[in-house]
């Protein structure tokens, strides 16, 4: 099914899905999609479809996990069996366990963990459809869900990847580029504090290439951040409009 394409970038400099080298896939974000969760968000990043739910802060179970000085953040990244071409076993794989940790560590710097000691925050990320760059999309959605739940945060977290495909540095790799390409660099950013919370590299890059890839990924992050803020605003658009009315009154 997944035949290796001959060329990933055509003569015009366009990629397989018709994007330019520094172009993002279309991103759609929505906040407050799960009514039983304290906070939730849904992201469509190209063909990725990911749902994130946040519960807490709440009592820690089992109790011995509680920390006396801060809250415990637990994160579960899970891919639905139907999210990829070949059925994926629903049991957490080695990769999913690692990604859960990576996503948690990307989000923790943004949360004021010391505010609510002896409690727990649960983050659930469910990948409904995967097409490369799910960890980045998951971080973007989970950060939105956290903000939606009313948990105090230093900043939102946005993530985006850049990489190298056929000797060119490109932004936001999708599945085929990720698998056939030379390198992939996912980056997570707290945009207002200008702090990176996740930086990984898979593949080989020279120092210069790495630097330009990181810079490109950061540009991508900033573009997604605008959409992220807009998504949070949209949920409270009534609040905003009614406030305007108030000024007019």
């Amino acid at each position: 099914m997944n035949d290796k394409p001959e060329k990933l970038i055509d003569k015009k400099g366009l990629r397989l899905d018709g994007r330019k080298l520094d172009e993002l896939r279309p991103v759609k974000l929505q906040v407050g999609v799960i009514s039983s969760a304290d906070g939730s968000a849904y992201i469509e990043h190209g063909k990725n479809k990911i749902l994130a739910g946040v519960y807490g802060p709440r009592e820690v179970h089992p109790k011995h996990l509680a920390l006396p000085d801060r809250t415990v953040v637990k994160c579960r990244y899970h891919m639905a069996p139907f999210s990829v071409q070949e059925r994926k076993s629903p049991a957490p794989s080695r990769r999913e366990i690692e990604l859960s940790k990576v996503i948690r560590e990307a989000l923790e710097p943004a949360i004021f963990m010391e505010y609510y000691p002896r409690t727990m925050i649960n983050i659930f990320v469910e990948v409904l459809q995967a097409d490369g760059g799910t960890r980045c999309a998951a971080i973007t959605a989970a950060a939105l869900a956290l903000a939606d739940s009313g948990i105090p945060m230093r900043d939102l977290v946005v993530a985006c990847a850049a990489g190298k495909v056929e000797d060119k540095i490109v932004l936001d790799l999708f599945d085929t580029e990720d698998k056939v390409g030379t390198a992939d660099v996912p980056v997570a950013l707290m945009p207002n504090l200008n702090a990176i919370t996740l930086l990984q590299m898979d593949g080989t890059l020279s120092t210069d290439e790495f630097e330009s890839a990181v810079n490109l990924a950061l540009e991508g992050c900033k573009q997604i951040y605008v959409l992220q803020k807009e998504a949070l605003r949209t949920k409270y658009v009534n609040v905003k409009e009614e406030n305007k009315e108030e000024v007019e009154e």
Partner: protein, 236 residues
């Protein structure tokens, strides 16, 4: 000391809202002399202070707060109470019985059982200990009748109004007694079910429209209209 946003503007976590001689108020934090928002909310600038009124939040216990909770567990010498916060509250048996607790004779579920509602005051709470409640004061104790309404804890101040204007108006118009739990639970007790339902409607309306001005007048109008239609019916 520049400010960066208009009053009443919607902010998201991480938004820069002020710099310099302001103090960071509620739902904000200061870093490198800059003040950022830490929750989704609406900005309020005071003369020397910036606040963000959160649109969604949860209750964090404070000493002296009056809360309304549900008994969630009956223990050996007291109860665990769910007060709508990340921390469960503890209520001691000796406190409720107002005499020393005798484990052989006293049967706790008879006094307060699972699911019972109590009005209580928080007597102690800090980062290392769960909040402790007391009911040994007038007006506190088990709830026997009335209606319960839940609102977002951040909206309780709006239900109270400026110097209690809103709540006293509702009390007067409906003839109900209203107890506000700071944790977002409201108890309404009135002479008739209709009175109670009217007060409930008013409080839910306040929650939905908490960010608009002229709300007291609108609520008052709504209550008066409801009253007059009721009187008309009585006369018929």
């Amino acid at each position: 000391m520049p400010i960066f946003l208009e009053r009443k503007q919607l902010v998201t976590p991480g938004d820069l809202i002020a710099e310099g001689e302001y103090t960071a108020g509620e739902n904000t934090y200061m870093e490198n002399n800059k003040i950022y928002a830490s929750r989704v909310g609406i900005v309020e600038y005071e003369t020397k202070r910036v606040d963000v009124v959160a649109l969604k939040s949860f209750y964090v216990p404070r000493m002296g707060d009056i809360v309304i909770g549900t008994i969630s567990e009956v223990g050996f010498s007291g109860w665990t109470v769910d007060i709508n916060s990340p921390y469960p509250a503890l209520l001691r048996a000796s406190d409720v019985l107002s005499r020393p607790f005798r484990p052989q004779k006293d049967d706790l579920p008879v006094v307060l059982d699972m699911g019972d509602l109590v009005v209580a005051k928080i007597v102690s709470y800090d980062r290392t200990h769960d909040p402790q409640l007391t009911v040994a004061e007038p007006g506190l104790g088990r709830i026997t009748r009335g209606q319960i309404v839940k609102v977002t804890p951040t909206k309780i101040p709006r239900v109270i109004g400026k110097k209690g204007s809103m709540i006293s108006m509702i009390k007067q118009e409906t003839g109900c007694n209203i107890i506000l739990g700071v944790n977002g639970v409201v108890l309404i007790t009135g002479k008739t079910l209709e009175d109670e339902q009217l007060a409930m409607m008013a409080i839910l309306k306040i929650e939905a429209e908490s960010h608009t001005s002229g709300l007291t007048d609108r609520i008052s109008k709504m209550l008066k209209e409801a009253k007059s239609t009721k009187e008309e019916k009585m006369n018929e």
